[in-house]
Amino acid sequence: MRNTTISLIVVAILAALALYVVLPLPHPDWLVRSDLSAKPTPLELKLGLDLQGGTQVMLEADLPEGRELQPGAMDTAKNIVERRVNGLGVSEAVVQSQGDNRITAELPGVSNPDQAIETIRSTGQLEFVDPQGATLRSGMIINTTNKPTAVQDYLSNTENGSPDPALTPYPDQVFTTAMTGDVLSTAISRQDQFGQWEIGFELTGDGADQFYNYTSAHIGQPMAIVLDGVVLSAPVINAAIRDQGVITGQFDEQEASSLAIQMRYGALPVPLKVVDVRSISATLGEDSVRRSVVAGLVGMGAVFLFMVLMYRVPGLLADLALVIYVLFNLAIYKIVPVTLTLAGITGFLLSVGMAVDANILIFERLKEELRAGRSPRLAVEAGFSRAWPAIFDSNLTTLISCAVLYVFGNQYGASIVKGYALTLGLGVILSMFTAFVVTRTFMRALLGNRSQRDKAAQAIVGY
């Protein structure tokens, strides 16, 4: 009996803690902050794109034939996409690597997905190109080693319009790419002491040597800065540059800022193309949240009622355990945090149905034990230990399915599939804990010291 009292207290404390996390109260920093760099945000349920509206884009490395992906290039590209996305002013955007050659960006609340995608994409691959004596001016389109069909692409895209021949003076020439944009660590626009706008740039550790080697060999010659085949600027190299340099010219503020942004954010080490776009309007998201809350409450209400009608007092205890189970789940969603999607909510609700299932197995066993003439105390113990293999087995196969789905969903940025597998799997594991710790404690507390002939015990278990 003392052990039961202790378990009961532990269950009560755990439930109170879960309730504290779930309720919208001010929470201490250590609970709120999952990583130290992030600013503390209130502890709340994270909603996926399908619930708050937004856009998810999957980008894939689009290498010209014969070129191989450099190690680490995708990580750099991911960081750059992340900066660009943040530059859009999207709060809580998530950028993730997907497999070896893909990046997904989730942009919650973005109402004009096309514009966002263009912003991510348009600032493409930056190159430093040797003009080889040709006169290159800003705005011209040229073929480069990395983008050998830039001119052709431009001409085919403007078939219906009127391509400007002045922009493509060298349609057949392929200019040599001296360096790609990943030698740059940053670029900013600023005014010099005379108020003239210029671009200051810094090079990365590895980039500095490459930049020095090239610039020292080409002093007095122009070097073209090219973004996706479009010449941004073609400054003359005045001196060998190693760690940092300056581009001067007749820039106004806007031109300088635009060039700096393109150099800064355009420095993708690999060209990327969009392979998957999905967007959901915020209205549909809100509607989905409302509907799933209603469906969840009605569904759970029906399960609660079913349990009481079928199993009377033990059913009521199972319902109480279920309330605690729901609190545990929600608390974990908040702390981890687990991003809830529409499918994820379905997974959670399904896990509620399955969590009850464990209790049903136990009660059926319990009844059998009581009918076989055991005392309530022994029947509770035997009921739980005999139901365990069946509960474990039934949950094991569901967990196998969840694991397979999680791996599948993770590979293809299918956050709906992943979210479902996560909430269902988590729910199944928690349900075993709830059934064996919470329900058992309740049953022991209620039946523990009653005798076989105790009328109250018979009424409670209903055999």
Partner: protein, 315 residues
């Protein structure tokens, strides 16, 4: 006493009838389209665009706008009300989509985007392959589980085959439902359909295992009875439990189906059909297959076998 095992001819016939639509659909679709099942753009690549207008529109008129713009392989369905349509066409980029939006606006007035999805064909193919591997991996793991669950049974192979047959039955019955819904309402198999089917596989196999577990216990306990009688007894003993555990899950699914909104409808309906089929196959098919094997006849014969031979399974 219910004669669930003896009447297996009826149950097997019902199962076969329920599986026929999927088989006919796959044969027809495989021959005419070179693709067994109606796959969504998750697997094939393409665009799905759900837009709503200020006024009611005819799907055919919307389709014509796309055909005129050069997208001949376009299908249009109305969603919820007559002013919202779902348009399926080939993958496009931002500029092409903008041109289509302008074309729609000039024909039908202001356009509001509800959802949009565009997936390249290459990645669609990769997803199909991965989906195939996911199903294969899940099936393999579940088969390993079944082999393990019946490791100490006299005829583990029989039990394994019967459990897997029940699973395959559930998958095919679910596919029948989806094929019919494809013809009626244009449903397609998407990533969530796969999710639903794998959940059904994972969850339903247990009920079969529970029945078999009880069967194993009872075969020892009632040695004088025929296999059919013991199987029948085992099914009835586990039925309360099976139905009780499934009903809670079904209650939840029905609530989501009715109240959860259109986005989840197909996913939840698929799971619901799969779970019901799983319930059916564990009560009406799995042990009956064992009995048929034991009696060397798919259909139950009326000439009752002597009790002594009924203990074959425990030998």
């Amino acid at each position: 006493m219910y004669h669930i095992v003896e009447k297996r001819n009826i149950w097997f016939t019902i199962s076969v009838v329920l599986m026929i639509p999927a088989i006919i659909y796959m044969a027809w679709s495989g021959i005419t389209r070179g693709q067994l099942l109606p796959l969504s753009i998750d697997y094939t690549g393409g665009s799905v665009w759900e837009v709503s207008f200020d006024q009611a529109v005819q799907p055919a008129a919307v389709r014509q706008v796309f055909v005129d713009a050069g997208y001949s392989d376009t299908t249009v369905f109305t969603v919820n009300d007559n002013s919202t349509v779902q348009i399926k066409f080939k993958p496009v980029d931002g500029d092409q989509k903008e041109a289509l939006r302008l074309a729609l606006e000039s024909n039908f007035g202001p356009v509001e985007e509800v959802t949009y999805r565009s997936l390249g064909p290459t990645i669609g193919r990769e997803v199909s392959q991965a989906a195939f591997f996911a199903v294969a991996a899940a099936s393999l793991l579940i088969m390993l589980y079944i082999a393990w669950a019946f490791r100490s049974v006299p005829h583990p192979f029989r039990y394994g085959v019967a459990a897997i047959a029940a699973l395959v039955h559930d998958v095919i019955v679910t596919l029948s439902f989806l094929c019919i819904m494809n013809l009626v309402a244009g449903w397609e198999l998407d990533a969530l359909t796969l999710t639903a089917i794998l959940t059904v596989i994972g969850y339903s196999v247990n009920d079969t295992v529970v029945v078999f577990d009880r069967l194993r216990e009872n075969l020892h306990r009632y040695r004088g009875e025929t296999f059919s009688v013991v199987a029948n007894r085992s099914i009835i003993e586990t039925a309360t439990r099976s139905i009780g555990t499934q009903i809670t899950v079904l209650l939840i699914l029905v609530a989501i189906l009715v109240l959860g909104g259109a986005t989840l409808q197909q996913f939840v309906a698929t799971m619901l059909v799969g779970f019901v089929s799983g319930m059916y196959s564990s009560v009406f098919n799995a042990a009956q297959i064992l009995a048929a094997w034991d009696e060397r006849s798919i259909f139950h014969r009326n000439n009752k076998r002597p009790a002594a031979q009924g203990t074959v399974a425990t030998a």
